[in-house]
């Protein structure tokens, strides 16, 4: 399978990464070579194999449902490019 330019544009839209024309061309070539490499897996029949779900045989631990932290709004906002002291600020969404 090759990844043509339209597919690159489609997935870059899904991934929210804008690309100029040259990047689309380069990525079409790179991603095609990577996908061809990946498709070596098709040589292997896996019809009767169950997919791996966990690499370590351990079940998740449960814990009591209690609040142990919180009230750290200042810390959470500290690294934001723009905030108003209470919330993150983003470009206007609703007209």
């Amino acid at each position: 399978m090759s990844i043509d330019k339209n597919t690159v544009k489609h997935i870059s839209k899904l991934a929210r990464i804008s690309l100029d024309k040259k990047k689309v061309d380069d990525l079409s070539k790179d991603l095609t070579s990577i996908i061809r490499f990946i498709e070596n897996l098709n040589k292997l029949n896996t019809d009767k194999v169950n997919p791996l779900t966990s690499i370590i045989d351990a079940s998740l631990k449960s814990r009591s449902d209690e609040v142990k932290d919180g009230k750290i709004r200042e810390q959470i906002l500290k690294n934001s490019p723009e905030n108003n002291g209470k919330f993150f600020v983003v470009p206007k969404v609703i007209e």
Binding site: S33, N42, P51, K78, S80, F88, P91
Partner: protein, 484 residues
């Protein structure tokens, strides 16, 4: 004492304890060397003032209860460090200052160590040559045209050059072991779940694991012990006993069974890699281990499966970089355009490639063909190991299919770069522990490493076998200092 920076971590810990030298003397020695070694570009952030202050404070109290009392340590810039910039080698996090500390670094500090600096790495740990960092490529002490390997390339380079007594890296597909092999150092990837992933910038969550990078095997045991342990904040960290690796460390490996997998003898592998592998077999035989030929038939499918699983998880993990919560933000006419421009400007080429591959294999209609298929193959690879480990205690392979290569040699062809990790990736897919130890040199005087793979949570056995090899290989670093 001017040569402290050449000492092993263990020797430094002991020396401080016995008052042969002070923490300040140790710290000054590493700071001085680091300042004179900028050409290697191994640091992203220097914390020299903080380190010196910490050393002086330590010397006043001399509390030597911790495993790493009074020791300055530089760490890979993928570990979040409270109030110290953490970039993951990316423009998108160029100004990110965490308000919290990763569990693994917290463990080191609670054992008496303190931060010396943050070390360069491939962007988001994606790369095998440390050429994808936004902060520039790192060079290998073994030659100014050579890569140090990746993604923990800054860690490996700084360690080999004596800029830090030891360091920690992360390994998703070989990012500790391959750079260790390229720089003649010891790198260990613990069992998945041995160390907490909390506070480590995530790449591929089912594969990522932090581990020690050290000058020798003894140091590896010590640092592993200091950083390991269950953490309620990482639900995949395992609540199982952490061995006292140091006191149990022994080169007595008589009777242990070592598997030699025929599938690791790959096409076009340099003769020298095969020879170092044979030497490793001889060393272990000499130590009384029993060598057994084994087969891991699905080995060749590991790398293609990895390049589905890792990008898929990465595309999901890296969705958080949106210019809203932290890091770089670009301008845009509306919210969507702001997202798209931020991510376009903030991520480098390799990261974009992987996000897009991951997005593609997870996109509607392709899930079964790619991701599900890869998870089935992953099961087969794990089964191969499970079967072998019913019969052997450890598996010996080369660490890498070549020695360190030249900068720029593989940057135009992503797949040729990926092939570097052919021997290291199967271990991550199966969650097993593995170590790379320097075992000799090729004809160009570049270090070559051997890899020992262990059973889950049996880091002790591979450390012991490594010690047996280390004693026999008698590896000594032999680069000439060209960078100062």
């Amino acid at each position: 004492m001017s040569n402290i920076s050449e000492f092993s971590l263990t020797k430094i810990v002991d020396g401080i304890k016995k008052k042969d030298f002070s923490s300040e003397e140790v710290t000054k020695s590493f700071i001085e060397k680091s300042k004179n070694s900028k050409a290697l570009n191994s640091y992203i952030t220097e914390c020299f003032d903080y380190a010196l202050k910490s050393a002086k404070n330590f010397d006043k109290k001399k509390d030597t209860k911790g495993l790493l009392s009074g020791v300055p340590l530089a760490v890979k810039d993928l570990f979040c460090t409270k109030n110290v910039k953490t970039t993951a080698g990316s423009k998108i996090l160029y100004n990110f200052v965490p308000t919290y500390e990763s569990t693994v670094t917290k463990n080191l500090w609670s054992q008496g160590a303190f931060l010396l600096g943050k070390l360069n790495c491939d962007e988001f740990a994606m790369g095998s040559s440390n050429e994808t960092s936004f902060f520039g490529k790192v060079l290998n002490p073994y030659g100014k045209e050579l890569v140090p390997g990746g993604s923990s390339g800054g860690s490996a380079s700084a360690l080999a050059a004596g800029l830090t007594p030891a360091t920690i890296g992360t390994d998703t597909g070989g990012s500790i072991r391959q750079p260790a092999s390229f720089t003649g150092t010891v790198g260990l990837k613990p069992t998945y779940g041995r160390c907490s992933r909390w506070g480590i910038v995530a790449f591929a969550s089912s594969l990522d694991q932090a581990g020690p990078m050290t000058k020798n095997v003894e140091d590896s045991a010590l640092l592993l012990q200091a950083m390991s342990g269950y953490d309620p904040k990482d639900s995949t960290s395992i609540d199982t006993k952490v061995d006292d690796y140091t006191s149990k460390l022994t080169e007595k490996v008589k009777g242990l069974k070592i598997g030699i997998p025929k599938e690791y003898r790959v096409e076009n592998m340099p003769k020298e890699i095969d020879e170092i592998w044979k030497k490793g077999i001889d060393y272990l035989k000499d130590a009384g281990a029993i060598i057994k030929n084994i087969s891991l038939p699905h080995t060749k499918y590991a790398l293609p499966a990895y390049y589905i699983v890792a990008p898929a998880e990465a595309s999901s993990n890296l969705a958080r970089y949106d210019g809203v919560k932290y890091g770089h933000r670009a301008k845009g006419k509306n919210l969507i355009e702001m997202y798209e421009n931020t991510r376009s400007e903030g991520f480098g080429d390799e990261v974009k490639r992987r996000i897009l591959i991951g997005t593609y294999v997870l996109s509607s209609g392709y899930y079964d063909a790619y991701y599900l298929k890869a998870q089935k193959v992953r099961q087969l690879i794990k089964n191969d190991f499970d079967k072998s480990f019913a019969d052997v205690d450890s598996i010996l392979t080369p660490s890498t299919p070549s020695s360190a290569f030249k900068t720029g040699a593989k940057t135009d062809d992503p797949v040729s770069m990926y092939l570097n990790d052919i021997f290291t990736v199967p271990v991550n897919l199966s969650g097993l522990p593995a170590i790379s130890i320097p075992a000799g040199y090729d004809k160009n005087n570049l270090p070559l490493g051997l890899q020992l793979i262990g059973k889950a949570f049996d880091e002790q056995t591979i450390l012991n076998l490594s010690l047996a090899i280390e004693k026999r290989a008698n590896f000594k670093k032999n680069f000439k200092v060209w960078w100062r």
